[in-house]
């Protein structure tokens, strides 16, 4: 199997989960109500756990220890989509991002549960329940707020418009796309995006929200190649602040 192709896939998945997990954890203590604060924080923690599992697989392929990989790289060495590094804004934005990203994430792992790269297939089966719950949670909030009052509806629609082209950047193709498909490791970003659109369309319709007109679609790519917005580096500095005081400390 093509190791470079697998590593590239693992890095982008792990980085998406680590960065979004960290971003979502910034809501801890500030969520709209206590119960939602706990739910959102708990899911953020799940994401960081999932990224750790992916970094462990990378480590078994010869990459450095998960903590080193997570905390010691600079922004231009990260492969996450730009979508996940954007600041939280208000809860409408974070909820829509959670909805758009988690649907893609669940589908990606679902597709990978048949991967011939066994460690990924195994992980996919292990975290299936977590991902299912995250999507439940997102669907319920989006449907509720989309159908709430005029303010909640227009906030959700604006957030969806604002997120859309960034969300399309999740599916930025890698140089290894063909190898991944041929070797039956992953069915590819094009297929993932197709299934994602099918899944979210039904929920958005129920939520009375409209996907932006296709002629305005323009994926914001670059993240997978290490090109990021100015928002990523400050996040990394903050995330690794304690770790960097003594990188060799035992926790």
């Amino acid at each position: 199997m093509n190791q470079d192709a697998i590593k590239e896939l693992l890095y982008k998945m792990a980085d998406d989960l680590l960065i979004l997990g960290h971003r979502n954890s910034e809501w801890t203590g500030l969520g709209p109500i206590l119960e939602e604060d706990i739910a959102f924080s708990s899911m953020a923690q799940d994401k960081i756990g999932q990224s750790q599992a992916l970094f462990e697989i990378l480590h078994s392929l010869g990459e450095q220890e998960p903590d080193i990989v997570a905390f010691m790289r600079n922004a231009n060495q990260f492969h996450n989509s730009q979508f996940v590094e954007l600041p939280n804004g208000e809860y409408d934005f974070s909820t829509i991002r959670h909805f758009l990203f988690d649907h893609a994430d669940q589908l990606r792992f679902e597709m990978l549960s048949n991967s011939l790269f066994e460690p990924l297939a195994k992980l996919s089966r292990k975290i299936k329940g977590e991902l299912k719950y995250h999507v439940f949670h997102a669907n319920i909030w989006v449907t509720k707020l989309g159908n709430g009052n005029e303010e909640s509806h227009s906030r959700m629609q604006n957030a969806l418009n604002e997120c859309w082209n960034f969300a399309l950047g999740i599916f930025e193709e890698s140089q290894f796309e063909r190898q991944l498909i041929e070797e039956k490791i992953f069915e590819g970003e094009v297929e993932l995006k197709k299934r994602w659109l099918e899944n979210i369309s039904g929920i958005l319709e129920k939520a009375n929200l409209k996907i932006p007109n296709t002629n305005t679609w323009q994926a914001i790519n670059g993240g997978r190649q290490g090109k990021h917005t100015p928002n990523l580096q400050p996040l990394l500095d903050e995330m690794s602040e304690v770790f960097k005081i003594d990188a060799s400390a035992e926790w």
Binding site: E26, G29, L30, I33, L34, E35, E36, I38, A39, S42, P87, N88, Y133, F136, H137, I140, W141, K144, N231, P234, L235, D237, E238
Partner: protein
């Protein structure tokens, strides 16, 4: 100095004298009672309450409040308003007189029977 994007850090700049208008009406969500079942077939046990605007969201929150640690097979939620209860003023209806102690569960002498059965079937513990 890097400008933090974390609201927990930036909120230190919020003007504390800035008054917040009080709400005219309370706009709290309703409460739902949550019941947790450890294993399929076992009883659901009351574990607490959650605030939620509808049953779906109550289930979501109950899952995270009460189902994320340990084993869970199933969760129920019931609107608190839908619970009927006895009055605490009527608590005396539960009292029994001392001579009716045989009615209490402690009054059953079953250990003898259990031990006899164990002896017969040679189950040590």
């Amino acid at each position: 100095m890097i400008k933090s994007l974390d609201p927990r850090v930036t909120r230190s700049e919020i003007d504390l004298n800035n008054s917040i208008d009080p709400l005219k009406d309370l706009d709290q969500w309703e409460t739902y009672e949550a019941f947790h079942q450890k294993k399929r077939g076992e009883q659901h046990i009351h574990v607490g309450i959650v605030h939620a605007p509808n049953p779906e969201m109550a289930l979501l929150f109950a899952k995270d409040q009460y189902g994320r640690r340990g084993i869970t097979a199933n969760i129920w939620v019931v609107k608190t308003a839908h619970i009927f209860m006895t009055e605490y003023d009527d608590q005396d209806i539960f009292e029994t007189t001392p001579e009716k102690i045989y009615r209490e569960a402690g009054g059953y002498k079953v250990m003898e029977k259990i031990n006899k059965y164990r002896k017969e079937t040679k189950i040590s513990k």
